[in-house]
């Protein structure tokens, strides 16, 4: 019986090739776009690569200083002084590390200028993140305290500066100052919000030490807990501490605002413009995403419903015959649903591979540096689920309408 459904589904697909093509195209493109979006978001947020321990830490990045009336303010990432006063002295985290946002450095190789992304870190940063070392070691506590000019490179930067040779122990000039390479790590995609970069140096290795006095600077702190269940306690301690804010010039700023967030919350805050609100609006964000996906899937669904209904007339004779020879309504509904599911799944499979191809294209294009998308089973499962929902939604109504057709009317119309 089921085999017969499949055969008919296949035949119906071939009967009107153009319609089938339009249908498949609509489904495939929709699912391809959804797959790309979901995969990109997921790769942003999920704990992979050097960020594999991300469920264990919160990040403090954005800081806003204001006066009581909020008429004047200063906003950016955390400065070193803010870290000293409100972050590094927290008692609940098991470890606290920090790093600066990437800045463009200058390296000359044989007269050619390179502009690598340089990140300044402390030593704990390397314990919280989990870089894959190809050779050498991370930046350590004495590098940090003594402000040594040492650097960790990523693999691509090593080969750009040193060619095929192991760079550990060798020197190069960064921003006009000599640095010694102490370690080389695997490339991290640019979209990893904490671990991306090309050259890492101790935060204290800069010639100018004025950053230590800045409240607003370029730093992000990571608050690590062995037990992820303790992250809310850490967040509370951090937020409570903000009440004891005292600016160097008390006349200028009286209040400080900041948040300690998971990766997902950080992403949401950027999207939802909720940077300093207590609620990151993650729930609303998820709801909006879900709504957008449904809306996005709605169009091809309507299209499919419409095409399916227009096929009723075309297949009136078949419906009449099947009914006359004893097909109950349920069997006909099942048949039409199978036909639709076949179409949707086929469109889905094409869409999935289109999505994969598109992601590969993004990787190859260098649009996102060191991009390396992993499509995991969750995405595949979600896509499969979407396809099935898609098939059912677009199939049920036409199937009922078709199956309820009166046999005499169906036969007469043919």
């Amino acid at each position: 019986m089921f085999k017969n459904y499949l055969v008919t589904a296949y035949k119906v697909l071939l009967r009107r090739k153009f319609f089938s093509f339009v249908n498949l195209f609509g489904i495939a493109i929709t699912l391809a776009v959804l797959t790309v979006i979901v995969t990109m978001l997921q790769n942003y947020v999920k704990p992979i690569g050097a960020e594999s321990r991300s469920p264990h830490f919160l990040a403090v990045r954005n800081v806003r200083l204001t006066n009581e009336e909020r008429t004047s303010s200063s906003t950016w990432n955390a400065g070193y002084r803010f870290l000293e006063r409100h972050v590094l002295n927290l008692e609940t985290p098991d470890m606290i590390g920090f790093y600066s946002s990437g800045s463009e450095g200058t390296v000359f190789i044989d007269g050619t200028k390179l502009s690598p992304t340089v990140v300044r870190t402390d030593a704990n940063f390397w314990k919280i993140l989990d870089y894959e070392f190809i050779s050498g070691r991370p930046i350590q506590a004495d590098d940090e305290t003594e402000g040594r000019t040492v650097a960790v490179l990523n693999e691509s930067m090593q080969s750009e500066i040193f060619g095929d040779q192991d760079a550990v122990g060798r020197r190069f000039t960064l921003n006009g100052r000599p640095f010694e390479v102490v370690g080389v790590v695997e490339d991290e995609p640019e979209m990893r919000m904490h671990s991306s970069g090309e050259i890492w140096v101790p935060h204290s290795s800069t010639a100018d030490q004025n950053y230590r006095n800045e409240w607003i600077g370029g730093f992000t702190a990571l608050l690590y807990a062995e037990d992820p269940n303790r992250l809310p306690i850490i967040r509370d301690e951090f937020v409570d501490g903000l009440a004891y804010f005292e600016y160097d010039d008390p006349e200028q700023y009286q209040r400080v605002e900041s948040t300690a967030d998971t990766k997902f919350e950080m992403l949401v805050r950027d999207f939802m413009n909720s940077r300093f609100e207590e609620d990151s609006k993650a729930g609303l964000f998820l709801l909006a995403m879900f709504g957008a996906m449904i809306a996005f899937m709605f169009l091809p669904t309507i299209n499919l419903i419409n095409l399916n209904i227009s096929r009723i007339l075309e297949r009136a004779s078949e419906i009449g015959v099947r009914k006359a020879f004893g097909a109950p309504t349920t069997a006909l509904v099942a048949q039409f649903l199978v036909e639709n599911l076949v179409l949707s799944l086929l469109g889905g499979v094409i869409g999935f591979f289109l999505g994969v191809a598109f992601l590969n294209l993004i990787e190859a294009s260098g649009l996102i540096a060191y991009a390396n998308f992993e499509i995991d089973l969750v995405v595949f499962g979600a896509a499969l689920f979407m396809m099935i929902i898609f098939g059912l939604i677009s199939g049920v109504y036409p199937a009922l309408k078709m199956a309820r057709m009166h046999p005499v009317a169906a036969l007469r119309r043919a």
Binding site: V7, T8, V321, R322, P328, T330, A331
Partner: protein
């Protein structure tokens, strides 16, 4: 006394639209005995096909009762009606109504799909039915690759594959030339004579009608005696 296999008692059928009511059949009484072969004759639009559709449970009467095998059909569920049609009745239509996407043998198998039969059993029965109508050599063809007469033979194979007690044929030779029409008539009379299938046939053609045991005439929705 032979058992009456089909029994219509004061059956009327009215088609209503918002503006007009059309009476297709009015107060029809009809009994068909098991193993009988009869023709229903009458001018176009007199209600012949309506009568056949009512007997075939494709339509329901506005008034009156229909009984098949002594069982009065009333308020039956969709499923029960479908199962009755599947078991008891085989249809042959004027315009064949074969499914163009399916091969001959798959078309013939359709009634068996709605029974609890395995694929091999279905195939075996379909091939037997095709042999009976002399189309064993065309099982893997598609309907459009066959002549009109051959297509109607496929339709007859489909009608008999489930071994129904009753075959209802709505102008089965209407779209065929006289030679092909004769072939079809031979198959139908053969079925009636050999295995005692009850055949009710609607036709315009007096000569064909005379080859059946009884002729029933309809005029303006009423039986003419």
């Amino acid at each position: 006394m032979t058992q009456s296999i089909i029994e219509l008692n004061q059956v009327s059928k009215t088609y209503s639209t918002e503006r007009i009511e059309t009476v297709a059949l009015h107060g029809v009484d009809l009994e068909v005995q098991a193993g009988e072969m009869l023709s229903i004759m009458g001018p176009s639009g007199c209600g012949k096909s309506t009568l056949l559709n009512l007997i075939g449970l494709l339509d329901e009467p506005t008034e009156g009762d229909i009984a098949l095998f002594g069982e009065t059909i009333r308020n039956h569920s969709d499923k029960r009606m479908a199962s009755l049609r599947n078991d008891a009745i085989g249809f042959v239509f004027q315009s064949f109504h074969l499914i163009p996407d399916l091969r001959v043998v798959d078309n013939v198998e359709i009634p068996l799909l709605y029974r609890n039969l395995g694929g091999k059993e279905r195939r075996k029965l379909a091939l037997e039915a095709l042999e009976r109508v002399g189309l064993s050599s065309r099982v893997n063809h598609f309907p459009t690759q066959l002549s009109g007469g051959q297509q109607q033979r496929v339709a007859i194979a489909r009608a008999i594959v489930g071994r129904p007690k009753i075959i209802l044929a709505d102008e089965p030779t209407g779209n065929l030339d006289s030679h092909m029409g004769d072939e079809i008539m031979q198959i139908l009379t053969g079925l009636n004579a050999d295995i005692g299938t009850t055949v009710v046939m609607v036709t315009h053609d007096r000569e064909k009608a005379e080859r059946t045991g009884r002729i029933v005439r309809i005029f303006d929705g009423q039986l003419v005696h």
